[in-house]
Amino acid sequence: MQILTQLIFSGIALGMIYAVIAFGYQLTFATSDTLNFGQGDALMLGALVGLTLVGLGVNYWLMLPLVCLFGAFQGAVVERIGVRPAIKIKSEFGWIMSTIALGIIFKNVAENVWGRDDLKFPSPLPESPLKVLGANVLPMEILVVGGAILMMLAVEFFNRKTIYGKAVVATFNDRDAAKLMGINTALVITFSYALSSMTAAFAGVLIAPLTLTGATMGAVLGLKAFAVAIIGGLTSGMGIIVGGIILGIAETTTGFYLSTGYKDVPGLVLLLIVLAVRPAGLFGKTAIKKV
């Protein structure tokens, strides 16, 4: 029993790491139907900028808003350079290539600035584990879980209760109609990209003390987060959390009960099943596209 508790706790912590990254995918999809495939790299840039700030003697908690600002700026740049031209000419796939290309550029820049070695991110919380229900949990893992839930609540609140959020939802539902109603849809989309990279940068500094920090950290994590976003549904904040937990626990339990060589398989099989049975994701709204 204790083993299972430990596996589930570690799975939740791992899943939440994926979930905080997956939020970024959701935010841009919610406005422009596009995804930032450089999400993993936005995460990596956030973590490395954070590491530099901490190295300069800035307090971890003080550094968080600075990194968020940086992330927002970076996201706006991605949208202006990579996504807007594609949307303007109504290209279906242009944004895929351009966000991937920008991601690669960011990675190369990071490699030149910070080197390619994995660096240690000093943990703001004690590194000795706590006992919860007989299983060991790191304080930092609890912070990640808290951060993920906070982000989910913020996103849901923003979309449902604020006038700006309504503008976002309106832009998603029908971009042209929203435009006619006086919503500056271009600005809404830029804003959603800024918000998306901001959450990625925030996720980066949040998880960096648990993972290692380096120019290549985004690649694998970004991909796993994408799977989470698909499983949970690209339109639901709740879905991201649940999707993360499912994937995380699937990885740790398969690793233990089946074989560590196969630990990535069940999550991806689940991804395939979800795509086949419920393409909008477990919690996503099925969008009816009128042609």
Partner: protein, 402 residues
């Protein structure tokens, strides 16, 4: 030809400056240096390169080889097989190197060295440890691949000897990464355990960039492992140590020499202390040669906290150049086949940092390091030190190849 003119002038200027005889005006001898200078194995690659630079600098200051200066042609293979292949072709066809040293990653070495073999240019592997590296061309009449690193079939039995015989663990778990390096090493470990009549209680795998080792460690823990034997590289080994701290389960880690990598020691922090691994060189001035090597390395490259990132790689990189220089000198030529023949029959012993190489290679044996040369190192206070005081006392007696 326009490009060679300024080069010739530089060589001339150098020759004039060093006031050597006329023949020094000849072109420098080019030595290829290939390794990962960026990425997860960069601490090994960069230390190796710095060791190479130091040796070349020393040799050039004392007049070069055959009256010619040595020049390193350094290329970053990024630990990628395909990059290694490109570099091998560039070094052979464009740079026209006399010989090449380097290779940190077994996979890259295996993919790249066939080009040197075809071009009859000697390769001195100074870090990569895969057992088959020097045996890749056993079937061909001439083998141009040499090595002065401790190969895995030495390391695996040493790890097992340490864990089973010396420290008396009966139940051990193996954690190895899913790369060529990790899986070949795992096989070697399992074979070595079998000779002791021990079956590992758990054999687990992990991927490069994995951030969570809970499942692997819990399996080892539940199987009652008293020690964890590892085959992987720095960052993931650090995640293993961090995972143990998290689970509150601390058993000794014994593993391949990569446990001495700086990115393991730094990322694992206090949780990584006590890990043991075979080392051909430990940063301690136990002989005058080692002392002068350490002093000039620290002075030239000034690493953080006066700690070499990978002392083993630095020492082996340094030695590889001296071995090559000795062979070129004895051959009196820069032709590959003659250098190869000289390496297989070195007349004068070469005093290196790791050992004194007395007939290090023969026609059939291209590995300079034998099982009696490496000792056990232990991570202590962020540095690799001798695990056994006995080894340290004996260290001033240089172990020769047996």
């Amino acid at each position: 030809m326009t490009r060679s003119t300024p080069f010739g002038q530089i060589a001339l200027a150098l020759a004039a400056a060093s006031l050597t005889t006329l023949c020094a005006a000849a072109d420098p001898i080019k030595i290829g240096v290939a390794g990962p200078f960026t990425g997860g194995s960069s601490s090994m690659g960069v230390s190796m390169r710095d060791g190479v630079r130091l040796a070349i600098d020393e040799i050039n200051k004392s007049g070069g080889v055959l009256g010619r200066q040595l020049v390193a042609v350094e290329r970053d293979d990024e630990a990628k097989n395909e990059r290694g292949v490109q570099i091998a072709q560039e070094l052979i066809n464009k740079e026209k190197v006399t010989a090449t040293v380097g290779y940190i990653n077994t996979g890259v070495a295996l993919a790249s060295q066939r080009f040197f073999q075809e071009a009859k240019i000697p390769v001195m592997n100074n870090v990569a440890t895969g057992s088959i590296i020097t045996h890749q061309f056993d079937k061909e009449p001439e083998n141009y691949v040499f090595r002065n690193a401790a190969h895995d079939s030495i390391q695996a039995p040493m790890i097992v000897e340490e864990a089973i015989a010396r420290r008396g663990f009966k139940k051990v778990a193996i954690l190895a990464d899913s790369t060529n390096y990790g899986q070949l090493g795992r096989q070697d470990l399992e074979t070595a355990l079998k000779t002791k009549g021990v079956t590992p209680v758990a054999v687990e795998k992990f991927n490069i960039k994995d951030v969570d080792m809970t499942a692997q460690l819990l399996k080892a823990k539940e199987a009652g492992a008293e020690a964890v034997l590892t085959y992987g590289i720095g960052p993931e080994l650090a995640q293993i140590a961090n995972g143990m701290t998290k689970l509150g389960w601390k058993v000794p880690m014994v593993g391949s020499w990569t446990l001495s990598m700086a990115n393991y020691i730094d990322n694992a922090g206090p949780g990584g202390e006590g890990a043991r691994m075979p080392q051909t060189f430990i940063q301690e001035p136990t002989t005058p040669k080692r002392q002068s090597f350490i002093i000039s390395y620290l002075k030239t490259f000034n690493p953080k906290n006066a700690r070499m990132d990978s002392p083993v790689s630095a020492a082996q990189g340094y030695d590889s150049i001296y071995l090559l220089a000795a062979a070129i000198k004895q051959a009196g030529s820069t032709e590959g086949p003659k250098i190869k023949a000289a390496l297989e029959d070195l007349k004068t012993p070469v005093e290196g940092v790791v050992t004194t190489y007395n007939k290090p290679f023969s026609k059939t044996d291209h590995d300079a390091i034998t099982a009696n040369i490496p000792v056990f190192g232990e991570v202590k206070a962020g540095k690799v030190v001798y695990a056994y005081a006995d080894d340290q006392k004996k260290a001033s007696v240089v172990q020769l190849k047996k």
